[in-house]
């Protein structure tokens, strides 16, 4: 829990220089996305998919005593960048920590628009996928 909040605060700090400028934020997210290693084709199965209206995301995990290790991918760079933030926040957490967590960094770095509407609900359904994985391992 504490760890989750600490990383969120770090992310908020890192995004500060972007000053909520939408274009710079997008470009930064794409840079982050670029660094995410693609996942193997064999993980791109129904079970791991998060279907958005326009972008697709795959998320898979390993769980051992140190907590979760996630890897993920997306067909769009910006979504991959968003995903990488969630992976960073939730990595090494226990199922319970994820379930109890509360994401507050989204509003603070001006990414509201990625959770707002029901259809283009990228961030929201990604977040839910993490929680589903956590819930099924408790």
């Amino acid at each position: 829990m504490k760890k989750i909040n600490t990383i969120q605060k770090k992310i908020i700090e890192e995004f500060k220089i972007l000053d909520q400028d939408f274009e710079m934020t997008l470009n930064y997210l794409m840079e982050l996305g670029d660094k995410v290693p693609p996942i193997k084709e064999k993980y791109k199965i129904e079970e791991n998919i998060i279907k958005g209206c326009q972008s697709q995301v795959w998320l898979t995990y390993k769980l051992n005593n140190n907590g979760f290790t996630f890897s993920g991918d997306s067909n769009t760079e910006i979504t991959k960048g968003l995903l990488s933030l969630l992976i960073r926040i939730y990595s090494d957490c226990s199922p319970k920590e994820i379930i109890d967590s509360n994401l507050f960094f989204i509003e603070e770095i001006g990414l509201n628009r990625f959770i707002g509407t029901q259809r283009s609900n990228g961030l929201k359904s990604m977040k839910n996928k993490f929680k589903i994985f956590a819930l099924s391992n408790i």
């Binding site: 209206c53 628009r113 707002g116 509407t117 029901q118 259809r119 283009s120």
Partner: protein, 406 residues
């Protein structure tokens, strides 16, 4: 809890009330047909088209995002207004009529078979009669009709006697638009529950006046029109329990309501979108939110109290006019008064009142079966809303007397 009603200030929120009709102040008593709109609804429309107009749901650009959020906000406010369980149970339609047609079309397709029975009542609006007649003809179902008594109240014994083990659906008006009668729908719904019957409530007249709580009522469907509750024309709501909505086939096909389209196989979207084919009435749905805000800010309790005073006042005055006969005399009623005047046709009366600036409705009010029941051709109907005043009622009564005594 809620602020006391300041009628003068409230009237100022309705720009149209300053209009002159035939050189007189407009006195608008045609509220059961459609209500007037507060300035915040009108301004919301203006704002929408000047600042955020965009097609919704599928777009990712800023305007599309903003418009989508505003649109879905209305869904969320409607959900709270009628206390639905989920937002997905709120379907936007053009109005009550479309809502009833949707249910009359999709529900029987999934659940009913030849010879099954549907029950409506003698006091229904044509919009809650004709769709059922059409589907009954098409699917060979049987339509039965609950009788009303002389006072214009539902005969509950008549209702019970109609129920057989083939009875599968009841569609009933919450408040009658020509008699003002408030039906005991809680009791009726519980009879339906006991007999495994689904029920739709036509809330066109109820929604602006009394509290609506679909979970407490436990009705299966509830329909209403925005334009009758201070909102814009062209928007309505069809509430349905999500289990039923999930199982029912879609009504119209098109954009929005699909998940995947190929020529071999098309899969439909989840509710509510499954029932919202095509570009919706975006601007008006967004502005409708402000109508509900308007109602919420006054508070349903305040509305009911104020309107009850107006109703009692009007009732007493009308009862004291010689030669005036009220049609419908239910104990539990709202301020909708249908009446006839000896030796004066409602058409003449309507025009003479209009000359004095008073808007009432005349005719059969889309409830011909009621007119047949009472053996009349039509009535003059005077119906109240939250912005009406005692002064307006006095002026109306005085005008009525002058016309009659001429």
């Amino acid at each position: 809890m809620s602020k006391p009603l300041n009628i003068d200030r409230l009237r100022k929120e309705f720009p149209i009330l300053k209009t002159k009709i035939n050189n007189n102040n407009l006195v608008y008593f045609d509220n059961a047909a459609t209500t007037q709109k507060p300035i915040k609804v009108i301004n919301a429309l203006d704002y929408y088209y000047k600042n955020i107009n965009s097609n919704i749901h599928r777009g990712i650009h800023s305007l599309a995002e903003i418009a989508t959020k505003e649109f879905e906000k209305t869904r969320s406010i409607v959900k709270k207004f009628i206390n639905a369980k989920n937002e997905e149970e709120i379907i936007f339609t053009r109005g009550t009529t479309e809502g009833i047609n949707l249910v009359a079309n999709c529900y029987p397709k999934k659940y009913l078979k030849e010879n099954d029975e549907i029950i409506i009542s003698e006091m229904e609006h044509h919009s809650n009669i004709v769709p059922w007649q059409m589907i009954c003809k098409e699917k060979k179902l049987k339509l039965k009709v609950i009788e009303i008594n002389k006072k214009g109240e539902l005969d509950l014994n008549s209702f019970k006697s109609l129920i057989t083990d083939k009875t599968k659906f009841v569609s009933l008006v919450h408040i009658s638009n020509s008699l003002g009668t408030i039906n005991p729908i809680k009791k009726i719904i519980s009879i339906c529950r006991d007999n495994d019957i689904k029920i739709l409530i036509d809330g066109a007249q109820a929604s602006p006046h009394i509290n609506i709580n679909v979970q407490e009522l436990d009705c299966d469907f509830y329909v209403l029109s925005a334009h009758k509750m201070y909102g814009p024309t062209g928007v309505g709501v069809m509430y349905g329990k999500s289990k039923l909505l999930n199982e029912m086939p879609p009504y119209m096909g098109g954009g929005e309501m699909i998940k995947n389209v190929t020529f071999n196989k098309t899969t439909y979207n989840d509710i509510p979108y499954k029932f919202e084919a095509g570009t919706p009435n975006i601007g008006d749905v967004i502005a409708f939110k402000e109508a509900i805000n308007f109602i919420n800010e006054i508070g349903k309790e305040n509305i009911q109290n104020y309107e009850k005073d107006l109703k009692n006042y009007t009732l007493e005055k009308l009862q004291n006019i010689d030669g005036l006969k009220l049609v419908g005399d239910a104990k539990n009623r709202i301020g909708v008064f249908s009446f006839t005047i000896e030796n004066t046709h409602y058409y003449d009366l309507g025009l003479l009142l209009d000359a004095k600036g008073i808007a009432v409705r005349t005719g059969h009010h889309c409830t011909q079966p009621i007119m047949d029941k009472f053996n009349i051709e039509g009535t003059t109907r005077m119906s109240l809303a939250i912005y009406n005043s005692i002064e307006e009622i006095d002026y109306f009564i005085e005008s009525l007397k002058k016309i009659i005594n001429k």
